[in-house]
């Protein structure tokens, strides 16, 4: 998103006594794409991205690679893991492994969509508040403060309970809880960016404020937002599962991971029923956290050592 493809060689020695400053720390936004790509080759990012890619493949091919029908009994009930049933079967005789694979199709896209919508809503609110200031800022930010004053799971539960169970309502509940994070982040970014000289220059040529916001301010706030969104993805995956676990998200026949863990919670000695979706969730959350941390280290100027 922050990429501006470079053209031509860096002009270290310009025709007018240009000063090559090779050892100065380089602002990331100023590096051409092909040079920046190498910065991302860190173990954290490679492992995180690898696991995420694996899960994307699972989402795409769940129907093909699942050994059994996730919704129908495929053997005895409560069978322990075996060659036939890698993660055993649940209390209705359904293959847990197949259900975990199909569950990825629910949990992950819902979390990604919830984050995306939260980012859109939050960025818009934050951008308007930060750029226009005054009472608009005060009203929007107090709304964000109030929302953030509640523990997120509690508020999400309240919203989901009010809307009724179902994955789409859980999704809305998460957006309702999550937008203020990005509103605050973007507002802070905008407050500092709008004082930069290139924004003053745009004002001095008489550009409209909304055009300045769109062309010269918002694009610069996207790097921290995308990094934060990646880092928050793990929390949101857990939040989706938590709501389902509490019966406020996906409802029983669905192989959503949180709902599956609820299933397994009643069968204490058949640990595999809950452990299957649990392990799946841990792997995804760890992977996106690795990815988020890695991206932050690479992209965040404040975090980068000189």
């Amino acid at each position: 998103m922050t990429i501006t493809a470079g053209t031509g060689a860096p002009a270290d020695a310009g025709p007018f006594g240009g000063t090559g400053r090779p050892q100065a720390p380089v602002d990331d936004e100023k590096l051409p794409l092909r040079l920046r790509a190498r910065r991302f080759a860190r173990p954290q990012i490679v492992i995180g991205a690898g696991v995420v890619l694996l899960w994307l493949l699972v989402i795409a091919f769940a129907g093909v690679i699942s050994p059994h029908d996730p919704f129908a009994a495929s053997g005895g009930r409560l069978l322990p893991p075996s060659g036939e049933h890698l993660l055993g079967t649940d209390s209705l005789g359904r293959d847990v492994f197949s259900r975990v694979l199909h569950g990825a199709r629910l949990s992950l896209p819902i979390a990604v969509l919830a984050i995306t919508l939260s980012v859109l809503v939050g960025s818009l609110v934050g951008a308007v508040a930060g750029f226009f200031g005054g009472w608009v800022d005060a009203v929007l930010m107090r709304a964000a403060d109030i929302t953030m004053a509640f523990p997120s799971i509690l508020l999400a539960m309240a919203v989901a309970a009010a809307l009724g169970p179902g994955l789409s309502n859980a999704f809305l509940a998460i957006v309702a809880v999550w937008w203020p994070i990005y509103a605050r982040l973007v507002r802070g970014q905008i407050l500092s960016i709008k004082e930069r000289e290139h924004v003053l220059a745009a004002r001095a040529i008489g550009m409209r404020r909304t055009a300045i916001l769109r062309r010269h301010v918002l694009p610069h706030s996207l790097t921290p937002v995308s990094v934060n969104a990646t880092m928050d993805l793990g929390s949101v995956i857990i939040l989706v599962a938590s709501l389902s676990f509490l019966g406020l998200g996906a409802v029983p026949p669905s192989p959503e991971w949180g709902a599956m863990i609820t299933d397994g919670a009643g069968n204490f000695y058949q640990w595999w029923i809950a452990a299957g979706p649990g392990i799946a969730m841990v792997s995804v959350v760890l992977a996106v956290n690795f990815l988020g941390d890695g991206l932050r280290d690479v992209l965040d100027v404040k975090n980068r050592g000189r």
Binding site: A11, F16, T19, P22, D27, P32, I205, G206
Partner: protein, 551 residues
């Protein structure tokens, strides 16, 4: 040469040098492969001597001194050469052994007084820490010595100031604190990396005087890193000129200044603005005022006190001046004098609290909408920071074309042609339009910013510290460009600067501002030959004139 040898710790090489750097090369690992920042640099510092390393940004001067102290960034390493300090090979020492040398034998005064003090701890405790870390003193004794150090660097009421925090200190006082920390253990060598570059000129003079006096009484040798040749000449015994990682010339101040051997040094000496430099502009012809400012005033409300009550703060107080067409009017002052606020009000980027702004005789104080939009075409800015002034996401061509797009000037093809014309007007290759700002040097960027300002064919260009961030050679080129543009296009400039020498070179009329008010006005020749106001006199006295202090 007295106190340093008294300690007896550092009698070294046969030549009696305190620090000897031989053929030092330093390389940095970067995305573009290894880059050599210093190549084969040599220098020698004798006990009690002040040696200045002079060069523009990117010349490797800071890298050289960082290598001496073994404080290179993690991606940097010494690839060749030796560093001998008081007879010890510093490059062969372990990190632990270096810690005993840093602070105790080699003190450091870093550049930025704002970021080099911990904001959460009292100033005094940070000085005392230097003593305790090196087990020089503890507890009450450390405090007593820290207070004494504060007094010695010229901070009054030191005992009370000891407990205060960095935000309660001004920039100059913080720099004094850093000097106190650097000298706390009476090191034999003090490395001062641009110690006063962030300070106003009058403050700079006081801080440097203090530093001179202290190092003279302690017998400390100083390795002074600076971009300012005049300052180096005034403060040092020996000058080392660096360019692109290499030492191009070194010698005594007198020799280097009067008989430079390297072409580069000659260029530097010629380009360094001083009050003796000849003005680039002729006398102003009488002309109608294009901009007239009457009784301009700006108040901000500032939250203060524990209850956060809003109290008015006057940034600009009753400022009046005119800009005759085709002339350059300068405003000089130190940071906080209100000069940039005046610039923003003339640009109508900031509202006025009181007073009138007239453009071609018509009041434009309260205009908005279409009138303001039309006014924008007539008055354009160029700002200080060539890195922040251009949006990094757009090409040079996009940036220069933007004003034309916003005002709907011409057809797309005409705009493209106009961009090429504008770029050649500021002596850039029109091919540069396809490049991004990160591919350009500081001077090129500032030319692009000037091209953007000229796109709408304005009458007035407001230059807010437009050359202050540039290296001296580039600065000279930009000033020449500005003067030739003025002559060709009949532009009027409002030139805001803290640098009197630069103002003297380019302005027809100068106003000296302090604390929001204009203290004195006149032509540069009058003003600088016979300053009437004590503040103007102090400003002039503070400019380094490039004469070595007698050794």
């Amino acid at each position: 040469m007295t106190a340093a040898t008294d300690d007896g710790t550092g009698t070294g090489t046969g030549t009696g040098a305190l620090l000897e750097v031989r053929d030092l090369s330093v390389a940095f690992r970067t995305d573009r492969g290894d880059v050599e920042a210093v190549s084969g640099a040599s220098l020698t510092v004798h006990p009690g001597q002040t040696v200045a390393v002079v060069g523009e940004s990117g010349s490797g001067k800071s890298t050289l001194t960082a290598a001496v102290n073994r404080l290179l960034a993690p991606n940097g390493r010494v690839t060749a050469g030796t560093v001998t300090f008081a007879g010890q090979d510093l490059l062969a020492r372990s990190e632990r052994q270096m810690n005993a040398v840093r602070g105790k034998q080699i003190g450091l005064v870093p550049q930025d007084p704002m970021s080099n003090l911990n904001p959460l701890r009292s100033v005094g405790s940070q000085i005392a820490e230097v003593l305790t870390v090196h087990k020089e003193a503890r507890g009450r004794e450390a405090k007593r010595r820290a207070v004494e150090l504060l007094e010695r660097v010229g901070i009054t009421d030191a005992a009370r100031r000891y407990g205060q925090y960095p935000h309660e200190f001004s920039g100059g006082m913080r720099q004094r604190v850093l000097i106190a920390m650097g000298l706390a253990l009476r090191p034999q060598l003090l490395i001062a990396d641009e110690p006063t570059s962030a300070l106003d000129v009058t403050v700079q003079k006081r801080v440097l005087d203090q530093l001179d006096e202290l190092t003279a009484t302690m017998g400390t040798a100083v390795l002074l890193v600076t971009h300012d040749l005049a300052l180096a000449a005034e403060r040092a015994d020996h000058v080392v000129v660096m360019r692109r990682g290499q030492v191009v010339e070194q010698g005594s101040v007198h020799d280097v200044l009067t008989a430079p051997t390297a072409d580069y040094t000659r260029l530097l000496i010629a380009a360094a603005p001083s009050l003796a430099t000849e003005s680039l502009v002729g006398p102003a012809a009488a002309a109608d005022p294009v901009v007239e400012v009457r009784g301009l005033r700006k108040e901000y409300s500032v939250r203060s006190g524990t209850l956060g009550r809003r109290t008015p703060f006057t940034a600009v107080d009753d400022v009046s001046f005119t800009i005759p067409r085709g002339t350059t009017v300068g405003i000089v002052g130190e940071s906080g004098s209100g000069k940039s606020t005046v610039a923003k009000m003339v640009l109508k980027l900031e509202d006025t609290t009181a007073g009138d702004l007239l453009f071609e005789g018509k009041p434009v104080t309260g205009i908005s909408g279409a009138e303001l939009f039309a006014f924008r075409r007539r008055v354009q800015p160029v700002f200080q920071n060539p890195y922040a002034a251009l949006d990094s996401r757009y090409t040079v061509g996009d940036t220069v074309r933007e004003p034309l797009d916003v005002h709907g000037v011409g057809t797309p093809a005409e705009r493209r042609a106009r961009v090429a014309e504008l770029l050649s007007q500021v002596a850039l290759d029109p091919e540069i339009a396809r490049r991004y700002p990160h591919e350009l040097s500081g001077g090129q960027r500032q030319r692009v910013a000037i091209a953007r300002a000229l796109a709408l064919e304005p009458d007035v260009v407001v230059l807010d510290e437009a050359v202050s961030a540039l290296d001296v050679l580039v600065q000279a080129q930009i000033l020449e460009l500005l003067v030739s543009l003025q002559q060709r296009l009949g532009l009027s400039y409002l030139f805001i600067s803290h640098d009197l020498a630069v103002v003297a070179m380019i302005c027809h009329v100068v106003h000296v501002m302090k604390a929001g008010a204009v203290l004195e006005s006149g032509s540069p020749a009058q003003l600088f030959a016979q300053p009437q106001h004590p503040y103007t006199q102090a400003l002039l006295a503070a400019i380094p004139v490039g004469e070595a202090t007698p050794a």
